[in-house]
Amino acid sequence: MSSQSSLGSASVGTRLDPWVSSYAERARGMTTSAIRALFSVASRPEVVSLAGGSPFVAALPLEEMADNIAKMIREQGPTALQYCTGQGDEVLRGQICDVMSLSGIHGHPDDVVITPGSQMALDLTVRVFCDPGDVVLAESPSYVGALGVFASYQCDVVHVHTDLNGMSAEALQEAIDLARSQGKKPKLIYTIPTYQNPLGVTQDQSRRDEILAVAQRNKILLIEDDPYCLLGFDGEVPRAIRARDAEGVVYLGSFSKTVASGLRVGWALAPHGIREKLVQASEASVLCPSNYSQFTISNYLSTTDWQGQLKVFRELYRERRDALLESMDQLMPDGTKWTTPEGGFFSWVTLPDGLDATAMLPRAVSALVAYVPGTGFYVDGQGRDSMRLSYSFPDADRIREGVRRLSAVIETEMELVETFGPSSNTGAIPRIGQSTPAPNLP
């Protein structure tokens, strides 16, 4: 017996989305991804996730913060819970200048634009500068959040060769020359010079001079994204590129790693002409940043030993970095290589020849360990042989266990490749965000 309302010839098709023919061109390709779906498994406590880049906010002085926030609401509630200016709170902008002075930057509060996370500051900068097809020169690999912004504005991203000292100045010049010879407009240079996400490497001072010289010579604005600068394990803060040039650099900073990511407070320090446009763009997007979050950060900076807290974070992250590097040294199969970060959250691992980190991820997740495949950090399909490991969230014992599991997965995969040969099928180039987890994955 069957239940059927009509014969097949009268069928009308459905796509289960009535808006499918209305989406903008830039939304095409925003599809679900099996790789991204794997990260929902990584949220289970059985899985050691070396994937996400969440800061370890549990190490904050939470009781003190709770008291401060309660006091803030009692004493400043009507202001803290109200709209503020599109540029952000004036007191906090001054405090941000004090924070940036640790990096050698002399900035004026009037040139600071506070945003809901430095991600928004980047978004606004790209919005005011880039037309579809404009070229953005980025490191190879680069931060997936930035690549997502560039994609959303239909920029043409060119990855510039990057070594253990960061972006190569020679390669940058070559890339600019090539783009211009093709009739394209290089508009922005995007760099994370300190404890870069995902490589973990840092540009030394002479490399920073070289990169800036290329930007200045070619009259291309440089975006310096610097969220990890205060998290060097030796306690030293590298001198920012922005410290050398106030007119040619937009500096992006964030409290996500130094205070709390959930508060969503970041900023751009920009030359005044750019700053005005950023304020207008910000107001059009979000009206204003959260006053509640800004007041929380401002009070935290003025009442808490926040630099002492940075020392707590540095020591904690150093211990975890050491656990990662030592266990990789002991356990990783021959042929595996990795970077040695001196701060920040990440190490970049390159697999033995023939292995594909994207193809291997399901096996890893079955073995209860997660990482981010390298393809997530490129726009052009590179990175299949690599992965980003984050040591910021799991404790040292969990990290060691995670490396133990991961090394066993790599060995099994090596056996598979030995049996079948290296994969010659590189597969479709994943869209940005399709092989990386959501921001809240630890």
Binding site: S2, S3, G13, A34, R44, A359, V365, L416
Partner: protein, 318 residues
Amino acid sequence: MNKRVLVIAGGLSAERDVSVRSGRRIAEDLREAGFDGVVADIDAALIGALQDDPPACAIPLVHGAAGEDGSLQEVLQSFGVGFVGSDADGCRRTFDKAVASALMREVGVHSPACVALPQSMFRDLGAPALLGSVCEQLGLPLVVKPNRGGSALGVTIVTSPEELPAAMVAAFAYSDVVLIQRHVSGTEIAVAVIEVGEAVALPVVEIVPDSGIYDYAARYTAGSTEFFVPARLEGAVLQAAQDVALKVHSTLGLRDWSRSDLIVDSEGTVWFLEANVAPGMTETSLVPQAVLASDFTMGELLGELVEQAAARAATIAT
């Protein structure tokens, strides 16, 4: 007080995300139908949830191994909890694609010729020679897939021998045994069977992915696949497809609900590919579309299945 129904969803498989979404939607449908639908993951807290506040019934919707290979069903059976869906034995017969195909061929249902082999066999005997032999035996094109798995994860269509090694590596990422199956081209369809008293086949769903392949993205990205319910096939072929699905349901010893994935070739022959004991229930899944086109509503259906499962458990208990 409303009867409490525990929807078990999530798990640790690669299909966790799909399962969680399926579970949430079914729990919502249960609540609309007047039940207290609650979602629980298959984790350390599950046994406590079963013992401390025994539900009237459970609905296992964990996709992938633990939810579809009989393991979860064994646990529920051992705790005396009534549940919707096939028992452990039915799940075991079905989740192993090679076993299910063989059982269906034995009763005269067309199923593409296939070979199922573990990685160790390729390692020990030598992959090139073995793959060459498989190609010769089955011909091209081929479909390479995990022998146990769903949502098209790890599935590759291979049109040349050179593509086989990469396809094998991709499939072994999800399963210890890989199924290499002769590819049958034709109209891809799915038929759900609902068993309330007697088994009934729901309207046939025709699947037309824009990309040509009903892969993970095509399944779970709204708009990327066009569906026709009922399928645009001749009446006799539709009937034949439903008959195959009913035969699958009874031959594999399935219960309450199942979904058969089939292909109708250019000559109108219906080929059985695989069956599912915990079919997806997301916004883009096939069974909800079939229910929508049927004489049932999801709420009515769930109500009937829950009462049926609870009555079964009560009978066993006494």
